[in-house]
Symmetry: D3
Subunit: 231 residues, 6 copies
């Protein structure tokens, strides 16, 4: 059962409304990396996760993300509501769609559940969540770089901060299952090719190497064209 208090979870205080920036902010309201994606992904996962503690964590964080969605919505409202119908406003999608937030991204695309990654296994879910937080953090960084209003920046830094907090929580949860640094999970045993690295993209001379294809963790196949297709 959901409840709502009108006071936001964190202060939102916009000094200089800027409808063009409001359009960029849509990225975190109705965009792929936005708060709706986070809230719905974590919450829908909670229905199939068996571990009661992790289920509760997913719900706690999901509800916080709804609160963040509200914060972003309030920022967009403030950046579009108290402005004259100036040229800045007229050049945004708010001019035809109306002021305030919409479930669109900064390019005007409607939010879609295709953004979500969830289902069937809690390890998959938690890895998906760390990725979702990374995307959200990245977008907040870009928005902070593009923002000129202090109140907006402060709110965005808080929102970015909380993505790191959530990442920490998801990492702790994965670690409690021994799956933070272990690639394997689930019930199907891999076959004997699990440690092969195929050098399928070549530069004609010496290919780059790194820990991601070094022995003894990996067997490096330097010339798969001949080694695979002829062996």
């Amino acid at each position: 059962m959901f409840f709502h208090k009108k006071e936001p979870i964190h202060v939102v205080n916009i000094k200089e409304p800027n409808p063009r920036f409001a359009q960029l902010l849509l990225e975190q309201f109705g965009g792929a990396t936005g708060e709706l994606s986070a809230a719905l992904q974590y919450w829908v996962q909670s229905f199939h996760v068996e571990n009661a503690g992790i289920r509760d964590m997913l719900q706690d964080i999901a509800i916080e993300e709804f609160g963040h969605l509200e914060m972003v919505g309030k920022m967009i409202e403030a950046h579009t509501k108290n402005v004259d119908q100036t040229d800045a406003y007229k050049s945004t999608l708010f001019a035809v769609r109306g002021m305030g937030p919409h479930f669109l991204d900064s390019q005007g695309n409607a939010w879609t559940a295709s953004y979500l990654n969830e289902g069937g296994d809690v390890v998959r879910d938690l890895r998906a969540n760390i990725a979702a937080e990374a995307g959200a953090r990245q977008t907040y960084e870009e928005l902070i770089k593009l923002s000129t209003d202090e109140g907006t920046k402060n709110a965005l830094v808080h929102l970015l901060t909380r993505e790191i907090s959530h990442t920490q929580m998801f990492m702790k949860a994965l670690d409690s299952m021994g799956k933070l640094t272990e690639p394997f999970f689930g019930n199907i045993q891999p076959d004997e090719t699990v440690d092969i690295y195929y050098n399928l993209s070549t530069n004609g001379t010496q290919d780059e190497r790194g820990p991601w294809n070094a022995e003894p963790s990996f067997r490096y196949i330097a010339d798969p064209v001949n080694e695979v297709t002829k062996g």
Copy 2:
């Protein structure tokens, strides 16, 4: 520059064609967790990644995923091509769309780049890739459980295996940057709320606790309704 050899990267040998199973296989051809998603996500990342070694790794794995896409396509072809126009075939989407693979998932949805998670930072990209691999692995496990043909199962186990291999590679790359177990990345410092855990979903009695909200890593706010909105 791309090249192609007609021999697949791994043997595909279907004994008992089953068009209904072929429709499920579409999930890994044109679905969210499928090989096209993996191939395109890793490959498009390689254009903006600065580190030459990781850029090369992304290309190597992307090219392998194109080869896996081909394997899944060949499986779907084999499961739909050499069958009479039986009732099994007629009850699938192949009856109206034609035999062989299509860039659809098992529910008939067209593949969309909304499935991809990439951009702006290599840490974000690599975390997104670990999540993509987890989703792919999960779907392969479900397909293996649903499959009754040995040749199909063997090919699917190989494909599942390689998702684990790639996860290992992405983890090694993240670890080489110190970002496998570290939540923070990027250029914006978090604010002072970074270690707070908000208990926003409650069960009326005693809420679950775990390493994801335990001290000293986290400050646990048990009653945010009162503590946040009134402080």
Copy 3:
């Protein structure tokens, strides 16, 4: 700020799990007429509505719809979780996507914000909401007709009931502005064609007539081919 209690807003008590019916239920979880559409539409409207009372009403109802979304999610969970991996389960999308709810409709389409109708004017919003409730009610009626489990039926009847309650609220709000039975709203005066009815689809003999094209409310143009294009 959002909060959550684990107890649902209304009892959900499924006796006979049926994964095929669970797939139909997705229509009201991640479908066009579902609870997510309602919750997000009303809530996003609240950001631009000036009237404080109607703004509050939109938030009250939106939060209730989130609670309804949770109820539908719990029903889907119950219809897919406590079942053997029987043929019924295997023939549903849960077999490849995992048990529990997903933000898909019964045909497997990802939820999209294209379903929403909102923006710019409270009259438009409230009319959109009455339409949304009508769509939701219609789908619940079809689901009730298709259901064989008493607990499921009872929960669905409650959800259908509340759509009627919300319709009543939206109608009262429109009526308080004098816009429940008045076509006109907004700031642009219509031109002189406002009372014309064009009989553009004809059956060769006598066309149907009704209050929607009767005098004195309407001027009926029986033969627009000649009257419009030649006048």
Copy 4:
């Protein structure tokens, strides 16, 4: 059977071509609130509506909407065709997609049938249509405010006018069934919660009240957190 005359249903006479405005006009050609949405929604409803008169009304209005779609298309053609390849043109989507209308909205999104609301019951359909008209009217108002060309404005005022005319027709039809001011319709009786109002969003002090939650029409639950989850 459809027929077409090349003369438009209403005069379109553009004096000052403006490709940027043409892009905004796409909102009513290939956008959610546009004429294609209206035409197709009313027309597809006519196939399942039993009442011959209302069926005919839906067809008459649908055909008029096709004529309006043509008018909007002609406006877009005029605003993009007779212009030099100036900077204004180059900054629009017409520069890469070609002059003239496309089934896109002002943000470049392809039209989708997800915009439509129809099916199963004529009351649901008619309520959906009143909502569709309200959305269309709202967008026309925004476009009229943004337009500087007299001929364009006149055509847009006509189109806005006709949305009001159609609203009147749909209201008359609903009224003829007694469903214009009556929330209930269909075959399922609501349960005993039908008159409850849940005050789920609170502001900490005194919540707003209005006819939408006033007695005797409604029973107001001021504190659902305690009253619902503990009763």
Copy 5:
């Protein structure tokens, strides 16, 4: 300006209603290769085509396609309306969405203007139309093969026939511009690589050859790996 007569452009006479077949028929109502795609593609092209004769042809055929859309709609209506709520009906999307046509394909996907191919040049448009007709014809063939009702088959054969008729018209139009068998069109001269054939997919032994890579029309590059990247 559009007009409509209730009599369809060709007889539709269904003897044995079959809701499952009705779902397949949706492919040609709201699917990629369906009549809506054809009608809207040709009609939207007519706004930017300069040649008055071809513009008129596009409109004539577009209007016929609207009439065909109506025929398919009437077939779907007949296959879903006069049937009991039998198991056949219950297993289709009509059970939750309501009887009669919807702008969905046989897999339940909403129609999208992403299916359309048009813009900027009449040669491109006409080639796109020949392709659209080929897709439509192919789907009709599959539907005819799957149909067991004579009346349905007859109507489908007529619709398939007309796709061939339209193909003939589009070919004649292209031929009148000398572009039916000439690859080149437009204003940009190709560079010197125009006659090269790159043998980029190899089978290890002898690659297939044909008129599409034969001299003197083409210069065949047998080993582009070495010839391109090293030259």
Copy 6:
């Protein structure tokens, strides 16, 4: 099995980076007429085409298109990577999504497999491919007209050139089957209406005529309203 060499298939040499032009270039990376569409359409067709030579041709061209996709990606990388965070960059989608290519079009829409036209018959496939090439060529022409950088123009002219080359190959393949200038293909015989032309869109006076509705190829029905519906 796929392979990759880091050297592109054709030189890409950008002198004057322009992020706004980079956004337009996205049209051919992740847009409807772009290289991903071409590569995936031809490649997926190859799985169901029986003729070994044409199957090989489809693979050869598909692999070349992947190489072209890489070229466009490298152009976008060059136009966004080596630029200061200037206003030009900030006004593009790269400012929030990150530099380098993304699978979006110039309007920010995610690529979708709904763009593809393929399945069931090689004639349909090849006609679809000629249409795809025509769309790609058209977009390249618009981009060349909008480009001011010589290196960019040269690369684009090469890409446009190859679309003509591929058109030539597809035409040769169709011609080898006798289907380049023959409307009919497949297994269903058309009915007796195959040569009728319906004059459904009229201008009140004298309609345009041309080879597409001239005798003896066509029987021209000048007044279908009366001739069809009354005969």
